[in-house]
């Protein structure tokens, strides 16, 4: 047979509490994380797109201002007049420098303070709208100047660090160059350079927290006819805005992945795509914006993974939070199971101790709950058991004592000696029938007395025992003793402790009849009234005085200790009480000089208590 492994209640509690606390914790953390992360990524994406739009619009508005200013100034009549002038002296040139510069100063006031207008004349004149001083360089030799005056149209100059023309502390600029053409000669008389300071915008771009990188794409596709064949040269450039610098990547340069991806996309963006759009491609989110007045495209790129970057912290916090909550939950489950099972285990241990026979075990009161009450009940129960056991022990002890005494009484050497002596005399006298009768009576007496070692005996056998005894005594005391035994045949099988009647009839003989000169009569009656079995032993002996009778009754009722003369009666009473309990009563009635009646009244029921 396979023994099923006994599971501990504590482990069960721990398992249940653990399961019911861990599952909600894990579920809560998982759902919270999923909810927060999905919102976070969604918000982040929309923030990145808004950021791109903000930067694009801001820059586009500025470029449009730059464009308008450049066009207006380059078409201004006074500008043309001054640039067409040939100065006779430095003094004259400076006079115009001051006057035209003063007039240009309003441009910066009316437009954006980040925009400065410079005019460089072929005639040497230098004019400016702002407070910055000129660098005192020969600008007419510069490449950018040459590209402007040699161009038929506007020239956008890609973002650069420092200023082309002025002494300034501003870091990043871009510019629009507009050639000023003499209408009559068609020759360029100078260039208007509108320089836009983009420090604030670039600082914003660099400081933005979402990790989006911005590039200005300069599509530069030229179509040339070589050997009568049309050839397209794509010389696109990407100006990347890095911290502390700008870097222009050419098409063939080795470049970072996102810039390469941007290059790959330029071809699409240059065609019929909308002026602004956002797309997700190759693990990047690309937002692009085509400026209105320039062919530049502003591109914002961010790795899709970057959107998940803020989640690292959330993941970390979630994991740590979950682990801590789990530890707390397990800890709480452990504590709770311990709190609940500790008194139960204590009870179990105490019960085991009781089982092993230790009835001195007591449990201190464990709290005010049901288990606390149980511990009180347990203590009461153990006390009761102990009392009961003690009582039974004492009763058993007494019973054994009584039985021992009974046995001693049975094999009373005087009785045996006297009986055997009488038997010898009968045999000598050749009264063989009498001898046989006495022998049979003695045999019956011992047989029923020993009763095969059993403690209980049927009333029939018990009566036979008493009758055998009476027969022996009658033969010994000849005509001094007569007796009558009657029994209701319904009571033959009624069980009772053995050797109940013999002591009573013995008492009747020795204390009642023996002292009477004319002998006496003993009547043993067993009959039934209603639900009671009544056994009475009546003698017409000496009787008992009232004082003695009262004292005897007190001894029976255990109000006083018994003495040796009353021992037989007390023994009978004790044994009947032990056997029948309160169902049995032993009564004694006696009148001095008239006789004594001992009545045993047993209410029917289970025979043994």
């Amino acid at each position: 047979m396979i023994m099923k492994k006994k599971s501990e209640i504590r482990k069960k509690f721990l398992r249940y509490f653990g399961t019911f606390s861990v599952i909600p914790v894990v579920l809560f953390c998982t759902i919270s994380f999923a909810y927060i992360s999905s919102n976070q990524v969604k918000n982040k994406k929309s923030e990145v797109i808004s950021e791109m739009e903000y930067v694009s619009k801001e820059l586009d508005n500025l470029l449009q201002d730059v464009y308008r200013i450049g066009k207006t100034v380059s078409e201004d009549e006074k500008v043309h007049q001054v640039l067409n002038k040939t100065f006779s002296s430095v003094s004259e040139r400076y006079t115009y420098d001051i006057s035209l510069s003063n007039e240009l100063s309003y441009v910066s006031k009316y437009y954006n303070t980040r925009i400065d207008v410079y005019i460089i004349g072929e005639n040497g004149g230098l004019y400016k709208s702002g407070y910055n001083s000129f660098k005192e360089e020969e600008y007419r030799d510069k490449e950018w100047y040459q590209s402007i005056v040699n161009s038929d149209d506007l020239v956008w100059i890609e973002p650069y660090t420092g200023s082309l023309i002025a002494k300034t502390l501003n870091k990043y600029h871009l510019a629009l160059g507009v050639p000023v053409i003499n209408i009559k000669t068609g020759q360029a008389t100078g260039a208007v350079v509108v320089e836009l300071q983009i420090d604030e915008l670039i600082n914003y771009i660099l400081e933005e927290k979402h990790g989006q990188q911005f590039y200005i794409v300069v599509p530069n596709t030229t179509m040339l006819i070589e050997n009568e064949n049309v050839k397209i040269y794509e010389e696109d450039r990407i100006i990347a805005i890095y911290e502390d610098s700008l870097y222009a990547y050419e098409k063939d340069d080795k470049k970072p992945d996102n810039i390469q991806q941007t290059f790959n996309n330029i071809a699409y963006w240059k065609k019929d795509f909308p002026s602004k759009a956002t797309m997700e491609k190759n693990g990047y989110i690309f937002s692009y914006y085509q400026f209105e007045k320039s062919n530049w495209i502003l591109v914002g790129t961010i790795k899709v993974l970057q959107l998940y970057k803020p989640l690292y912290n959330i993941i970390l916090i979630s994991v740590v939070g979950t682990v801590v909550l789990l530890i707390i939950a397990i800890f709480a489950s452990y504590s709770m199971s311990k709190t609940v099972t500790k008194p139960i285990l204590l009870l179990k241990e105490s019960v085991a101790n009781v089982q092993e026979g230790n009835l001195d075990v007591r449990i201190e009161k464990i709290g005010n709950d049901e288990i606390g009450d149980l511990s009180i009940q347990f203590n009461k129960m153990v006390i009761s058991i102990k009392e009961l056991v003690n009582r039974i022990y004492e009763e058993q002890k007494k019973l054994h004592e009584y039985e021992l005494m009974l046995l001693q009484a049975q094999i009373n050497p005087h009785f045996l000696y006297n009986t055997l002596d009488s038997l010898i005399w009968l045999l000598r006298m050749k009264q063989l029938d009498e001898a046989v009768k006495m022998t049979m009576a003695l045999t019956n007496f011992f047989r029923t007395g020993l009763n095969k070692g059993k403690d209980t005996i049927s009333l029939k056998e018990e009566v036979l025992n008493a009758e055998s005894y009476l027969t022996i005594q009658q033969m010994r005391y000849k005509n001094k003793l007569s007796f009558n035994v009657s029994m209701d045949s319904r009571l033959e099988e009624f069980l009772l402790p053995k050797m109940i009647l013999q002591p009573l009839v013995e008492n009747s003989i020795y204390h009642g009849i023996k002292g009477k000169p004319n002998g006496g009569f003993i009547e043993l009656k067993c009959y039934k009234t209603d639900d009671r079995v009544i056994i009475s032993v009546t003698d017409n002996g000496l009787g008992i005085s009232e004082e003695q009778l009262a004292y005897l009754k007190k001894q029976i009722n255990k109000e006083v200790n018994h003495n040796s003369s009353s021992y037989g009666l007390i023994n009978v009473n004790e044994r009947l009480n032990l056997f029948f309990g309160e169902r049995c009563q032993l009564k004694i009635e006696s009148i001095l000089g008239e006789g004594t009646t001992i009545t045993i009244e047993i209410t029917e029921g289970d025979n043994h208590v």
């Binding site: 430095v90 003094s91 004259e92 400076y94 006079t95 420098d97 001051i98 006057s99 510069s101 003063n102 100063s105 309003y106 006031k109 407070y131 910055n132 001083s133 000129f134 005192e136 002494k167 300034t168 502390l169 690292y312 912290n313 970390l316 916090i317 740590v320 939070g321 801590v324 530890i327 707390i328 800890f331 504590s335």
Partner: protein, 322 residues
């Protein structure tokens, strides 16, 4: 719950907080500059909206670079409140020296005290702070606005040579120490020329356009003047533009201003300007000199005044014209 369990719980929660802090990245990082072996200095500039300020800042930056010093700088854009914030942020970098070009003469005392408390030495540049004691800054390096006012009064006095004349004073920003000192010097010196009187005061905010507007109002109010003393070149050039338009390019009265920037040099050469009192912005070398001396343990003068120069058409080539 037993004490040991409570302790365990507290430890767990503590660990959570610590991990949370780590994850949110709130631990303080050392400023990058501390890794750098170069001496770190900080500059809080008042503004960079005029040629002089640009030249002043550039001069300090260039000199620092030249002398292998690391410099962090911030510009307050003329805002006193922003300058206080700038100083706070610069002090977080724990520089050894803090150079302040004050936006106002009052109110920076607290910030300077904070610098002293953290062991950063303060150098006041091109301005004055009145709510600090001399012990609270290492040195003040400045031009001499009062002398500049005096020199300007002398130029005008000599121009009129005893003839009666009214002088229009164009002051910079109200409340700035430079304006106060220049005006004080000018008026003090003007007392030596009883023929000269102040026709009125116009505020130009050190700005060409603002000056033009205010002078127009002054003229439109019917007030007359025979000379102009402008506290800055920008204001002088603004006045020049108004008069040029008023008198059809002919400048009939002397204009004298303080600073010496490029445009004034041109105006002097073009014979549109009478004189300029140069107030050099190239104070960077003085600043670095003071720092180097201090680091060597040399005694530092509490005040270094860099004298200016009077420039007229006759010696215009001497004007640097920043």
């Amino acid at each position: 719950m037993g004490q040991s369990k409570l302790r365990l719980l507290v430890i767990l929660l503590g660990a959570l907080i610590v991990l949370g802090n780590i994850s949110s990245g709130c631990s303080k990082k050392n400023p990058e500059h501390q890794k750098n072996d170069r001496l770190l200095i900080a500059l809080s500039a008042c503004d960079k909206n005029n040629a002089r300020s640009i030249a002043l800042i550039s001069s300090v930056l260039e000199e620092a670079e030249k002398n292998n010093m690391s410099i962090e700088w911030r510009c307050a854009g003329g805002s006193f409140t922003k300058q206080k914030e700038d100083i706070k942020k610069l002090l977080e970098l724990m520089p050894q020296y803090l150079i302040i070009v004050p936006a106002r003469s009052l109110g920076l005392g607290e910030a300077i005290k904070e610098a002293n408390q953290q062991g950063t030495k303060v150098i006041l540049l091109d301005g004055q702070v009145n709510d600090v004691t001399e012990n609270e800054y290492l040195c003040r390096i400045s031009t001499d606005p009062e002398w500049e006012g005096i020199a300007s009064a002398r130029i005008i006095g000599e121009f009129f040579n005893g003839k009666k004349a009214k002088v229009l004073e164009i002051q910079g920003k109200k409340g700035t120490s430079v304006s106060k000192e220049r005006s004080s010097g000018f008026r003090k010196e003007l007392c030596n020329y009883p023929n000269l009187e102040i026709a009125g005061v116009v505020y130009g905010d050190f700005d060409r356009t603002v000056t033009q507007q205010n002078i127009r109002k002054f003229i439109e109010a019917g007030k007359e003047f025979d000379a102009i003393f402008a506290h800055s070149d920008e204001e002088g050039l603004g006045a020049l533009e108004v008069l040029r338009k008023l008198w059809d390019d002919e400048i009939r009265i002397p204009i004298v201003s303080v600073n010496g920037q490029q445009d004034v040099k041109k105006a002097l050469i073009a014979n549109k300007y009478y004189a300029c009192v140069e107030s050099t912005p190239y104070l960077g070398n003085h600043v670095i000199h003071v720092i180097q001396n201090d680091m060597c343990g040399a005694r530092i003068s509490r005040e270094i005044i860099v004298e200016g120069k009077v420039v007229t058409r006759d010696n215009v080539s001497e004007l640097m014209g920043y």
